[in-house]
Symmetry: D2
Subunit: 301 residues, 4 copies
């Protein structure tokens, strides 16, 4: 198929490349000229504006967005709205909040434009291994895009699917990331316990390696964790600082709205917040309270 | 090699069978005559008492224990102590608390007997796929037992290893199960959020299937979860009651003793406790407190 | 002072009565005629519509809202907007979300109307003991209302104050309730542990009574908890079902937005969600997963 | 009454002083000569060894222990065992683990000695306000000691009581401290949320002051917290480092053993552990995992 790729960062460039390898025609746009040039080097066309991109594509157009969630997506979606023609389709493959997706899709519908949300997992490994894709949108529209998904996915019929109406793809990806937070935290806590049991002198990478075969906790995340532990067994030079990119927060918020108790996913997020709160007011106040009632010494800063 | 297998329940019988298939000679003991007979049918010898078992084995003897943790293991370990001769080896392949293992190993050492602990993961799938084994014990002793581990493991050099001195095998398995609790809870919470988002009409088994290929959360547990969701999408007929077999508790206890914050593993355990506390005194008292200060209605039982 | 009271439910009626006792003139409105009549019996005037209420009050008018948060508050606020005159003041004494308050106040400002938010704590005990009030609004406006707050508060200069600009009163009350959730849960868990230690045969009400004097955990909530335990030591007839009225959710949401780790307040909310999730899909799936990998029995429903 | 006080640290010295003020005769022992001298200055006798203490007391002797839990208590209890005579009584007023208490009491019983456990709350404020005391022991023995408890307590019949057999006093105090952890954490989280809402410019000490009167969260801990916030509103110079003295751990352990879900008490403990884990291996590994699968940047140390 022929499609436009908007956003040629780490994810977008890799996805474009995988599509090219699969025989699709890709025209790429990114404000960064070097990113466009790099993609050209891999056999794609490029456009230096959204307008140029739209003009370069045959109708009905297919434009895949791979841009950061939030205002950049909004700007791009709004600009495309004014450039596209009835029957054209935009696929948001980024990590948008599904509520934003519902809002944008409603706007597109008013203009006879199709809007599809594709929650995409796979990270930097997707280029080689394929992407896992949870897709929301009208059945007929998704069906038409099938060749794209088959190429991006790990296998023709594997690792992708339409999960429901528009919005449901991003919703499912949001929950996917919530689960990811919980799994990551579970592994990290476990390895930390092993690391602290100094009298046994455990080799964490070796243990990760053992668990990779036959154990109940084997997983792709364990494979990666074992790699990380092999390369840097003591985690030297790494700050105990864990970022989060929003999907964990949305999952927690959604769980509460749906009245689903989700302690583990929630605590995984809170643990990340705590990792960055190095001057915890909470803990300073606790130390101060202990001093007030019990005369317990306060550690000075 | 030639070895005795004590305990022919689900796990012990399967392990004996895998050893037989691998060319080892196994003499099995279980108080249950049917279990002994079933094993005989697979090519093993059997003994109707621990005494008979010990007599049937050539010195230096190797006895593998696959019995429930706690007092049954203690009884078996103590009886064997009086039957075995210096140089013989007992391998505890069950889910013993590593502190018990340290105690038992010290006792065995006094009698010139070898004690090896093998944390075993793999569940009912181990017979076909092999067991992941974390082994603690003296290096020379573990080396001598290598043919056994190579057969039980998923591969000759894969899925097993000596992780440290005696006790460290059960310690590592304990943490393994703690991680397992956290992962299970993360998946279950995530699928529950999906299930409650009724307006999207999501097919949980389909989503599990999508995630199995290419996604960051792919794992063997996800494979099994997807199977469960395929067979019974609404979890019909299943009580919301989750048992625990001890290793999660020990992990939580150990984390606290080592001053390692492990909120996710801990909350996974607490969630299981809560699943069984259907007449929660805590919640009744909370409802009662709300009534006291705010006049809020109490739901009658 | 002379003021109108909109909403004569449990809280509004009590506050009106405390104001009357303090020498203020109150005109009350409630759609329920009986509620109006009951207030008249205590010396207040009443109005059978918001329009009548506004007409009955002298300019500049003061109207206190004590209505359920959400759409009812929105309807009332919007109706009053069309009835009031520049210089009039509305005080929202209910549990509104501070974001709603900010929105409503901005609207009122456009019409030269004053908007004050008063987070009110005290529950059914406020009539006798006075209400704790956290007030947001312009300094001059709050100063003018001082006689009202002095009467409603436990003391002339105690238990009330302007904490900041409009919105800050409801924000502070929201956090107050978050803390309340955490404290309640801490007590309830503690008493539940005592209750489960059956070999000691502890008398929970007696223990609450002991703690009320001299202990570090003494509090008004403990007083009420002790009362509840005295009246119904076994919590008989009470369902383990804990409602929540929204402020806990908002606190959790706000904590996450502010990157403040708040595990205890968050878990208190989650515990309440769990109390109502008696058919937990999460727990059913966990039981099912345990069966898949380990062959563990599932409890039937 | 006449009694010996062993341990003249902060708590023991204050309790001895309160007993002296109440007309009791106290002989104090502490290895520290200055501590003994200070107590003499308040009207007590002193002894420079446990042996001297026992000799100085009339039979049947009453010895109150106020020494750190653990091995010091064990040493003292064992030494006294060899010095005391049948019918004498030892009261452990410290924060001993109730399991240790059960063990020590059984030993004393064999020697016809009485053992009483008194969980004591009140901290540095107990001297002036009285101590809250939860007492375990034989009814007749506790009855004989009544004058002591009446003097130490906030009131003759208030703030103390025999809660059950020996061990139950320390058990109840353990749970008391677990609750205290949860309450402290709830307040600290709440104030931290207020502190982070910078656009409202909230004065935390003022808010604490408002809540002290009429609010649902009023308590003695809130009084102290407000004092701390008044003295040091920004918690300047205080490290975010929160110690724990053991009772929280025991409460968590006991809750798990009793199958009582106690998420809030447990998370309060875990938050303290995290405050001291400034080089969190868990968080370093999480950052490393994010880099592995998503190429996310790692913050360098």
């Amino acid at each position: 198929m022929e499609l436009g790729m908007v956003g040629l960062g780490r994810m977008g460039a890799n996805m474009a490349e995988r599509l090219l390898r699969g025989g699709h025609s890709v025209t790429g746009f990114d404000p960064n000229a070097e990113a466009r040039k790099a993609l050209e080097g891999k056999g794609a066309a490029s456009a230096d504006s959204l307008q140029a991109l739209v003009q370069a594509l045959p109708a009905p157009r297919v434009v895949w967005l791979m841009v950061p969630a939030g205002s950049i997506t909004d700007d791009t979606v709004n600009t495309l709205l004014s450039l596209l023609s009835p029957g054209d389709t935009v696929i948001d493959g980024g990590n948008s909040n599904y509520n934003d997706t519902l809002r944008r899709a409603a706007l597109y519908r008013e203009h006879q434009l199709h809007y599809v949300d594709c929650g995409t997992s796979g990270g930097v490994w997707g280029l080689a291994e394929g992407y896992s894709m949870m897709i929301g949108g009208d059945e007929a529209v998704v069906k038409r895009l099938q060749p794209i998904f088959e190429t991006l996915a790990p296998g023709k019929d594997a690792g992708w699917g339409r999960v429901g109406p528009v919005g449901s793809g991003h919703f499912t990806k949001m929950v996917h990331n919530g689960i990811e937070y919980g799994m990551m935290q579970a592994y990290a806590e476990g390895f930390s316990i092993l690391e602290h049991k100094q009298e046994f002198g455990l080799d964490l990478a070796q243990i990760g390696q053992i668990w990779r075969e036959g154990s109940v906790v084997r997983s792709w995340l364990l494979d990666l964790t074992t790699d990380a532990l092999t390369k840097n067994p003591k985690m030297e030079g790494i700050a105990p600082y864990v970022a989060d990119s929003g999907e964990g927060r949305w999952t927690v918020d959604e769980a509460i709205q749906l009245n689903v108790p989700a302690p583990v996913i929630t605590l995984s997020l809170i643990a990340r917040l705590r990792s960055r709160d190095t001057e915890s007011f909470t803990d300073k106040l606790l130390a101060s309270m202990r001093n007030e009632f019990g005369g317990h010494a306060i550690k000075k800063e």
